[in-house]
Symmetry: C2
Subunit: 386 residues, 2 copies
């Protein structure tokens, strides 16, 4: 027996009661009960998004919903701005390239936040920019961008703000409407606490104007068709939905509502802080800013002289603990703890304890229990249940 612990930023652990909801007998999607579930899930997502905008649901990975944003908003030749600071920022670039956008790229060092002032300058330099693409939580580095500031800047222009909040929504406060996020992309397998396979977009009236006049061909990911079918008293999805995942999402949202969004954010804040303090107490260096609001992922530099690839492998194969490695150009240079979604105090303890043992095995000097002790001191002071 090797007991398993999934401590990655997606997929994330799913509560057993949610997994069992997904295991309920399959129901048909052209029937009143499914309409009820869909309506409840959409309402629940609006609660998590803190939005009154339309929320659409697709059976796809998060990348599918990201592509849906590009094909619904951008026509070939349209000017767009991508502010990238990591692997998923590069995905916005690739998607916009695929669809023929004229891209202005603000390329920030991985591990830093994008600079809102540079976005303002770029928008001022080119008034034709129709959409600004950015990440909320950049999963590859753990960085959380200042969407409030960016929203204020973009909101003063004709451009729409498109935010990939796949690993951030439901972990860190992101009031979609208040901060002026026109399109907010999310995925089921992060803080929304179900297995991967559903993806979400919240779409503002300002964004709908672009969508409705956009000639780019699309079918499966067409937002107009999705809105038409998914709203009203007999709401359905245009094509067969992933019903079991919808049932699971409904159950997970019930749990999020029960905890309360403010408590959810507070819990993530404590977990993120505990993880970071643990890492520092072990003498390791955080990758990226020590940000109290970056609470989906903690990225850590691999200590000099250690083979980064081995950390995740030993953790997984010998200790049953899944950590995440570096992506893209960070491969082998960092490792990452995920703590967005169904995570509590002892997930952080398990992750840190595992890293202590793995580093010791790799010959790195370890002060036994140091990271765990530092985390404990954060965790025990928590004002919310963990």
């Amino acid at each position: 027996m090797l007991k398993r612990y999934l401590l990655t930023p997606g997929p994330t652990p799913v509560p057993p009661e949610v997994l069992l909801a997904a295991a309920e007998p399959v129901i048909h999607h052209r029937a009143p009960r499914f309409t009820e579930i869909l309506t409840e899930v959409v309402a629940g997502l609006k609660y998590v998004y803190q939005t009154t905008n339309d929320v659409l649901i697709f059976a796809s990975s998060g990348t599918g919903a990201m592509e849906s944003a590009v094909v619904n908003l951008v026509a070939p030749g349209d000017a767009v701005l991508v502010a990238s600071c990591g692997n998923f920022g590069e995905r916005w670039v690739k998607l916009n390239k695929t669809w023929g956008a004229a891209i202005t790229l603000l390329d920030f060092d991985w591990g830093t936040r994008v600079d809102p002032a540079q976005i303002a300058a770029a928008l001022q330099a080119n008034s034709k920019i129709k959409a600004v693409f950015v990440q909320f939580s950049e999963t590859s580095t753990g960085v959380v961008n200042d969407i409030r500031a960016i929203g204020e800047i973009v909101g003063a222009t004709d451009a729409v703000l498109v935010v990939d909040a796949i690993s951030g929504l439901g972990a860190t406060d992101l009031p979609t409407d208040e901060w002026g996020v026109d399109v907010c992309v999310a995925g089921s397998q992060k803080a929304l606490m179900i297995p991967p396979g559903l993806a979400y977009v919240a779409v503002s009236p300002k964004a709908w104007k672009l969508v409705e006049s956009n000639p780019t061909p699309r079918f499966y990911f067409d937002w107009v068709a999705a809105r038409k079918k998914m709203t009203g008293d007999s709401a359905q999805t245009p094509y067969t939905p992933a019903v079991s995942l919808m049932v699971a999402q409904n159950k997970a949202i019930e749990m999020i509502r029960e905890e309360g969004l403010a408590n959810v954010f507070a819990r993530h804040r404590v977990l993120g802080r505990a993880c970071k303090e643990g890492v520092k107490a072990l003498g390791l260096e955080l990758f990226g800013p020590d940000d109290p609001e970056a609470n989906s992922v903690t990225a850590v530099k691999v200590p000099a002289g250690i083979d980064g690839g081995k950390i995740g492998k030993i953790a997984r194969d010998e200790y049953g603990v899944w950590l995440a490695g570096g992506q893209g150009k960070l491969k082998g240079q960092i490792f990452r703890f995920g703590h967005c979604g169904y995570f509590g105090a002892f997930d952080i303890i398990v992750g840190l304890s595992c890293v202590e043992m793995v580093l010791a095995e790799l010959g790195h000097p370890v002060k036994w229990g140091a990271s765990v002790g530092a985390a404990e001191q954060v965790l025990m002071k928590s004002e919310v249940k963990l």
Copy 2:
């Protein structure tokens, strides 16, 4: 308590052991165990497809995989042939229109099969046709087309044959390679016995040639990217897969392998026959040909004077039985029994018995037990376990 019976052609009932497999703790998709599962699922799908072609997996509805066929094969302006005989044939038309194909449409009456001779004539009349789109089992009518004959015709030309086998694969014999199906689309929620959310394509070398030179933009559904990532010793998916559904599919394929494909087809043949004989014994008229190989769906004409919409509603609300109604222009005119996938003898009995009671309630003269009795005489002679 109202006990529920899902007797629709998709979603279909999922075996409890498969649902429980989907409820196992979520695993990470960038790790050896997922590679094993993916490799097993691909091998299992090749078994069901009876193919040595590449099989690709997407987190999407079947419609997503249908669209993937169009965007990967068809460039704007390309000549294509669509042979349609139902609602899903029309979907091929819509998808090809969306992507700018020059469509030759052979539009057959709903409830009839497409005529291979007319496909041959159309291909002869226009040698520029690059792809022929058709359904195997047209879910909206229950009709199963003669793919063997169509494959022979298309195989003699430069065009590729694209078959939507979403509700037919795994229910009725469809030897992909032997019959020359270049692209075969399938979905998880029919005879493959898991909840909706995964979709599959099998792609022949002849089709790959078109794909590789096709400039149509695509990202999420790009087959080249999918093939690159999904093959080899460390096979993964390009984007986060629906891991729980993959685990479920692996379990369901294990069950299909255990039963054996020949027995699976034989079981469907008996169930389809039993359902059809039951319908006829009740004095109802089958919609479409009384085809011994059309075993995914039995479509039935609503008797004169009966409100077709009420049959499904009463069955569902009063008896807990989900039947399917008519789609598109057949709305209210037919109702449909699904029997593809996890169906046994008594699912047919339940469906027929329910229809007897519903029709009686609606004032239609019913010879009590007649349909059930007729089905029993088919079922008890079965040479395979049901």
